[in-house]
C-alpha cells in the first residue's frame, strides 16, 4: 500500500468490476481484492464507491447476485456476470482499447509525422 497508486479514471470502475467478476463469482470484498491483485496494487479504489457501483450494475442487469458461503465459512453476497454483462464487458473493452490506441497514437506522434 505504500507504492505510488493511481486514481481510477472516471467511468472505468464499472468495467473493472465486470472484468473481475467475469473470472468467477466474487463477493464485494473479493472484487476489491481481485482488482488490486491484478493491478498489482497500482490502482486506488474508494471502498465506499464499490458498492453503489455493484448495485447499479446489478440494477442494470449486467451482474446478478446470490448469497453464499465465504472461504472462512461466513455468509457473503456473491456477484456473477450475466450473459448481457458478458456482451457489455466485451463492447466496453473494445471501446477502451480503441480509445487507448487513439490516445497513444496522438501522444506518440512526432513533429515529422504531423
Amino acid at each position: 500500500m505504500d507504492k505510488k497508486q493511481m486514481e481510477l479514471l472516471q467511468g472505468t470502475l464499472d468495467m473493472l468490476i465486470l472484468k473481475a467478476v467475469s473470472l468467477g463469482p466474487l463477493h464485494g470484498y473479493g472484487v476489491l481484492l481481485r482488482i488490486q491483485q491484478i493491478s498489482k496494487d497500482r490502482l486506488e479504489i474508494q471502498q465506499g464507491s464499490l458498492y453503489p457501483a455493484l448495485y447499479r450494475l446489478e440494477h442494470q442487469g449486467w451482474i446478478t447476485s446470490e448469497w453464499g458461503e465465504s472461504e472462512n465459512k461466513r455468509k457473503a453476497k456473491y456477484y456473477r456476470l450475466t450473459a448481457a454483462g458478458k456482451r457489455k464487458l466485451q463492447t466496453e473493452a473494445e471501446k477502451w482499447n480503441r480509445m487507448a490506441d487513439v490516445i497513444a497514437g496522438i501522444l506518440q506522434s512526432t513533429p515529422e509525422e504531423v
Binding site: 463477493h27 470484498y29 465506499g48 464507491s49 458498492y51 440494477h59 442494470q60 461466513r74 455468509k75
Partner: protein, 934 residues
C-alpha cells in the same frame, strides 16, 4: 430484457425494503470484517484493524444512500414524501383545494359527458357480432339522399350477391294496439317535457296504448349474433308467408309489464286484433341496429296481418320496406361489395325500367350507430366547442389559483433552496401537488359525469312517449372515457402546475428570503400572465353567455310568432291507428263520427272539425298543380313538371275552428264537402304565385293526375282535372314556424267516405286543462282506441328550428353560468393575490399620503383593463359565432344589442364585484405594518 431486469430489481427493492436494508447492512459489515481480518492476519491488533477498516471504507451511510439511489428506491421514497407533503398542503389550504378541484371537476365532468355521448353514438362499435364488417345496403337515386330498399330488391340482393355473408332486413317500426293490456296510465306519460319548453303530444289516458313494434327478417337476429333472455328470437321459418304469427318481447317490456315471468312464453297476445304467440324475450336494453328499444319484435312476413300494407305492397318495388344489413365476407372490402351490388342494381334497372329508373345502390359501414355527416358536424363541433371553452375557463382559473399560491409560497421555496434542495426536486414537488389536484378533480369529475349522463339518458328517454320505444344508449363511461378524463386532468395539472412552478424556480434565493421579490421586472412578467388568464376567462365566458342569450331570445321570439291561426284555443286529437290497427275503414269512420259527437258535447267546446293534417303535426301532403288551361308539361322521363303544392283536406268549418280568415270568396258548403266537389280554397301566397295581379276567384286549376298515389291509407290522392277556386284564405305557417307557407291550398273533405285521423277542437277556455276531459270522452267511445292530443301551441314548439335553438340556448346558458361562476372565482382569486403581492407598495403609497379611495381605485383600474380587453375579444368572437347560428334565431338580428350589451355589462358588473371584494383589503393596509413587513 434489461428494462425488465431493472423493473424487477426495482420492484424487489420496493416490495422488500426491509430485507434489502438488512442485506445491505450484512454485505457492508462482511466487507469491513473481512478487511479487518486480513489486517489482523498481517499482525495489526484487532481493535486497530476494525478502526482502520472503517476509515478505509469511508462514509457507510453515504455509500448506503448511493446504493439505494442506484436501485431507484430513492425516487420512489421522495415521491411518497412529496405525495404526503402535497396531501398535507391540500388539507391545510382547504379553500384553495376545494375551489381548484371543483373548477376542474366541472370542466372535466361536462367534457366527459359530451365525449361519452359522442363516443356512444359515433365511435363505439355496435354490440353485435363482428361490428367491423357490418355494412348497410341503401338505395340511391340521383339528387336524393340514401334511402331504404324495397322488399323484392332486398330479396334479389340477398340471393344474388357473393361478397356479403348474409343480408337481413330491419323494417320500419309501427305502433300496434292490443286489448290484452290495461289502458294507458299516468306512467305512460312523458315527463320533463315542459322543463325545456316543448311538449310532445300526449297519449290520452283512458284510451288504448300503442306498442312500438319493429319488423325484422327471419335471419336478422342470427346475423347480429343476438341471444334471447328467455324463449327464442325470430327465426327464418317465422318469416314465411302463412307462418304462425309470432312475436318477441323486449326485455324492458317483459320486466315492466310481466315482471319477467317465464310463463309469458308461449302465451297469446292480440295485436291489432290478431292473435300472436309470444315465443321469446330479448335481453333488457337490447338494441338491434337502432339505438332504440322497441316493445315488440315481429317477423316482416306478419306485416300484412297487422294491417301495415298488404302482401302485394311488400312485393311492390317502389315501396320502401327497410334498411338492409350484412357482413362483408373475409377479404372483401367495402368498394368490392359496392361494385358487385351495383352490377346487381343495373340488372334490376334493366328488368324493371319503370320503377328502378336512375336508382343505384350504396354500401356503407355500419360499425357505429350514427354516421357523422355534413349536417351533424356543426352541431357536434358547436357542442364540443362550448364545453372546451368551459374547460379552458376552468384551467385558466386553476392556473390563476396556482399562480396566486406560488406567490405566497415564495418564502417556503426560498428556504428549501437555501437548505440545498435541488431545483429538479422542487419542480417534482410542485408538479406532484398540481397533479394531485388534477387527479382529485378527475376522481370527482368521473362520477359527476356518469351521474349527469344517467340523468340525461333517463330524462330524455322518459320524455319520449312509450309508443316510440325507449332509448338505451350505452352511456356508462367506459375505460376509454376514463382515460380521456385522466388525460385531461393530468395535462391540466402539468400544464398549469408547470407555469407557476417554473416562475417560482426563477426565484432568487436571497430576494425570496428577503421577501422583496415582488418588485420590478419579475412582477411585470407575472402580472402579464395573470392578465392573460383573466382575458381568457372573461372572453370565453362571454362567448358562451352571449350566444346563449341570442339562442334563448331567438326561441322566445319563436313562441311569440303569430302562425296565422289561433294556436291558443285549438287542440288537435289524432286517432293513433297507423295502418288501420286492425279496424276496418268503416269502423274508423264510425268511431271518428262518435268521437266528434262526444267531444262536441264537452263543456267549453265551440266547434269540432276534421282535417287530413294539423299544422306542424307532420304528414305534409303535396301534389302537382297547374292552371287548367295548359297541358301538364312532362319532361323526357315522363315526370310531371308542374310545381308540387302542399294541401289539406278539410271540413267546411275548418277555417272558423282554427281562426283562419277567408279574405276573399267563401269556404266550402257542406254539400260541396260531402260530394267532394271540384272546388278549392287557396292561400294568398298561392293566389299571388299562380295568378299574379288577377282575381283568383273562379279561376280553374288542374290538381294531381290519374295515377297519383298517396302513402296515407284511407285517403285518396287528389285528382281534379278542373277545380274551381272559390275562396282565398289568409297566409299561415302550416309547415314551418320560421316562414309563411310558400303555397298552400285546401280541398273539401267528405266525412262519410274519406278517413282522416285528425280532429281539431276549438275551446273557449284553457287548452291544457282540457286534455284530461278528452281522455274520458275517448274512453266512452272505445277504450282500446289510442288517441294522442296536444294544444296547437305545443305543436308550434315542436318545430325543429325551435328545438335546436331552445336546447342549444339552454345548454349554452348552463355551461355559460358555470363558466361565469368559475370566472368570478378566478377574478376574485387573482385580484386578491395582486393585493397581497403589492401590500408593500400600497403601504408606501399610503405612507406618502395616498387616500384609501385612491388606492382602491388604483387596484380596480388595474384589474379592469384585462377584463375590458377580454370583453372586447369575447364580443368579437361572439359576433362571428352569431353569424353562423343566425339561421335558427327566428329573425332575431345576430347583432342583437340587448344580448351583446346586456350580457357584456352583466359580466363586467359581476367580474368587477368579484374583484372589488378582495380589493377592499388594499384599503385596510396599514402603512406601518406593510413597511415593517419587510
Amino acid at each position: 430484457m434489461r428494462i425488465w431486469s431493472r423493473v424487477r430489481s426495482w420492484l424487489r427493492a420496493m416490495a422488500r425494503r426491509a430485507r434489502m436494508e438488512n442485506e445491505m447492512d450484512a454485505e457492508l459489515r462482511f466487507h469491513m470484517e473481512a478487511f479487518a481480518e486480513d489486517l489482523v492476519r498481517r499482525g495489526v491488533p484487532r481493535e486497530e484493524a476494525l478502526r482502520r477498516a472503517r476509515i478505509e471504507f469511508g462514509g457507510v451511510e453515504r455509500a448506503k444512500e448511493e446504493c439505494r439511489e442506484a436501485r431507484g428506491v430513492n425516487f420512489i421514497s421522495s415521491l411518497v414524501q412529496d405525495l404526503r407533503f402535497g396531501l398535507r398542503m391540500m388539507r391545510k389550504n382547504l379553500g384553495f383545494t376545494a375551489t381548484a378541484v371543483l373548477a376542474l371537476a366541472l370542466g372535466i365532468g361536462v367534457n366527459t359527458i359530451v365525449f361519452t355521448a359522442f363516443d356512444a353514438l359515433t365511435m363505439r362499435p355496435r354490440a353485435v357480432k363482428d361490428p367491423d364488417r357490418l355494412v348497410g345496403v341503401y338505395r340511391t337515386k340521383e339528387g336524393e339522399s340514401r334511402d331504404a330498399l324495397s322488399y323484392p330488391d332486398y330479396i334479389y340482393y340477398r340471393n344474388h350477391n357473393k361478397t356479403l355473408s348474409d343480408l337481413a332486413m330491419f323494417g320500419f317500426g309501427m305502433g300496434v294496439t292490443t286489448s290484452d293490456l290495461p289502458p294507458a296510465s299516468p306512467e305512460d306519460m312523458p315527463r320533463m317535457a315542459s322543463a325545456i319548453g316543448f311538449h310532445l303530444p300526449q297519449l290520452l289516458q283512458g284510451g288504448g296504448r300503442p306498442l312500438m313494434c319493429f319488423y325484422v327478417s327471419g335471419n336478422y337476429f342470427q346475423l347480429l349474433g343476438a341471444h334471447p333472455a328467455a324463449g327464442r328470437l325470430v327465426l327464418p321459418e317465422d318469416d314465411q308467408p302463412g307462418a304462425r304469427p309470432v312475436v318477441v318481447l323486449s326485455g324492458n317490456f317483459w320486466r315492466s309489464q310481466f315482471h319477467s315471468s317465464p310463463n309469458v312464453i308461449g302465451s297469446t297476445i292480440h295485436l291489432n286484433r290478431v292473435p300472436f304467440t309470444i315465443v321469446g324475450v330479448t335481453p333488457v336494453d337490447y338494441l338491434g341496429t337502432l339505438p332504440i328499444v322497441p316493445v315488440l319484435w315481429a317477423p316482416i312476413a306478419v306485416r300484412p296481418m297487422l294491417g301495415n300494407g298488404t302482401r302485394e305492397s311488400l312485393e311492390n318495388r317502389s315501396e320502401r320496406a327497410g334498411i338492409v344489413y350484412g357482413h362483408l365476407k373475409a377479404g372483401v372490402s367495402l368498394p368490392d361489395a359496392e361494385a358487385e351490388l351495383s352490377v346487381l342494381a343495373s340488372q334490376l334497372r334493366a328488368a324493371f325500367p319503370d320503377v328502378e329508373r336512375k336508382s343505384g345502390v350504396s354500401v356503407v359501414s355500419e360499425r357505429e350507430f350514427a354516421h357523422m355527416d355534413s349536417e351533424g358536424w356543426p352541431v357536434v363541433a358547436a357542442t364540443m366547442g362550448a364545453v372546451a371553452l368551459l374547460l379552458l375557463i376552468a384551467c385558466a382559473n386553476v392556473a390563476g389559483l396556482l399562480l396566486a399560491r406560488a406567490a405566497t409560497r415564495r418564502r417556503e421555496i426560498g428556504v428549501r433552496l437555501s437548505l440545498g434542495a435541488t431545483r429538479w426536486r422542487l419542480l417534482q414537488q410542485l408538479l406532484i401537488e398540481s397533479s394531485l389536484i388534477a387527479f382529485f378533480a378527475g376522481a370527482v369529475g368521473l362520477p359527476l359525469a356518469s351521474w349527469g349522463l344517467h340523468l340525461l339518458v333517463t330524462e330524455i328517454s322518459s320524455s319520449l312517449p312509450s309508443y316510440w320505444g325507449s332509448i338505451a344508449l350505452q352511456a356508462t363511461p367506459d375505460i376509454r372515457v376514463f382515460a380521456y378524463t385522466v388525460f385531461i386532468s393530468l395535462m391540466t395539472g402539468v400544464a398549469f402546475g408547470l407555469t407557476p412552478a417554473l416562475q417560482t424556480l426563477k426565484t432568487d434565493v436571497n430576494s425570496a428570503l428577503k421577501d422583496s421579490g415582488s418588485m420590478l421586472g419579475e412582477r411585470l412578467s407575472k402580472s402579464r400572465l395573470r392578465n392573460i388568464l383573466i382575458v381568457a376567462q372573461v372572453a370565453a365566458c362571454l362567448v358562451l353567455l352571449i350566444n346563449s342569450a341570442l339562442l334563448l331570445r331567438g326561441s322566445q321570439r319563436a313562441l311569440r310568432i303569430e302562425p296565422g291561426f289561433d294556436s291558443k284555443h285549438v287542440v288537435f286529437l289524432e286517432m293513433y291507428t297507423p295502418a288501420l290497427s286492425g279496424y276496418s275503414e268503416a269502423e274508423l269512420l264510425q268511431l271518428s263520427r262518435q268521437l266528434r259527437t262526444e267531444l262536441g258535447s264537452l263543456p267549453g267546446i265551440t266547434s269540432v272539425t276534421l282535417a287530413s293534417r294539423a299544422p306542424f303535426a307532420g304528414g305534409n301532403r303535396f301534389v302537382p298543380v297547374g292552371t287548367a288551361t295548359e297541358e301538364p308539361p312532362v319532361n323526357a322521363a315522363g315526370e310531371d313538371q308542374r310545381p308540387a303544392v302542399s294541401y289539406s283536406y278539410v271540413l267546411p268549418n275548418y277555417f272558423e275552428t282554427l281562426g283562419i280568415p277567408i279574405v276573399r270568396g267563401r269556404s266550402f258548403t257542406p254539400q260541396e264537402a260531402e260530394g267532394e266537389a271540384p272546388v278549392a280554397v287557396v292561400s294568398e301566397a298561392m293566389a299571388r304565385h299562380f295568378w299574379p295581379g288577377q282575381d283568383p276567384i273562379g279561376k280553374r286549376m288542374a290538381i294531381g293526375s290519374a295515377h297519383g298515389q298517396t302513402p296515407y291509407p284511407g285517403e285518396t290522392a287528389p285528382f281534379f282535372p278542373e277545380s274551381e277556386v272559390i275562396g282565398v284564405a289568409q297566409d299561415v305557417r302550416n309547415l314551418s314556424l320560421s316562414k309563411v307557407d310558400d303555397s298552400y291550398f285546401y280541398l273539401p273533405l267528405s266525412q262519410s267516405s274519406q278517413l282522416t285521423r285528425m280532429i281539431l277542437l276549438r275551446t273557449k277556455g284553457n287548452t291544457s286543462s282540457l286534455l284530461a276531459l278528452l281522455g274520458g270522452a275517448v274512453r266512452r267511445v272505445d277504450a282500446s282506441l289510442p288517441v294522442v292530443a296536444a294544444p296547437l301551441d305545443w305543436a308550434v314548439s315542436l318545430d325543429p328550428y325551435f328545438i335546436v335553438s331552445r336546447v342549444g340556448g339552454i345548454l349554452c346558458s348552463v355551461v355559460g353560468a358555470l363558466g361565469l361562476f368559475l370566472a368570478c372565482l378566478g377574478v376574485y382569486g387573482m385580484v386578491g393575490y395582486s393585493v397581497v403581492e403589492r401590500t408593500h407598495e400600497i403601504g408606501i403609497r399610503m405612507a406618502l399620503g395616498a387616500q384609501r379611495q385612491q388606492v382602491l381605485g388604483l387596484v380596480l383600474r388595474e384589474n379592469a383593463r384585462p377584463m375590458l380587453f377580454g370583453t372586447v375579444i369575447g364580443i368579437a368572437v361572439s359576433a362571428a359565432v352569431a353569424r353562423l347560428i343566425s339561421a335558427i334565431l327566428f329573425g332575431l338580428n345576430p347583432a342583437d344589442a340587448i344580448s351583446f350589451a346586456g350580457v357584456s355589462l352583466l359580466l363586467i358588473a359581476v367580474a368587477m364585484f368579484a374583484g372589488w371584494l378582495p380589493a377592499r383589503r388594499a384599503m385596510r393596509v396599514d402603512p406601518m405594518v406593510a413597511l415593517r413587513y419587510e
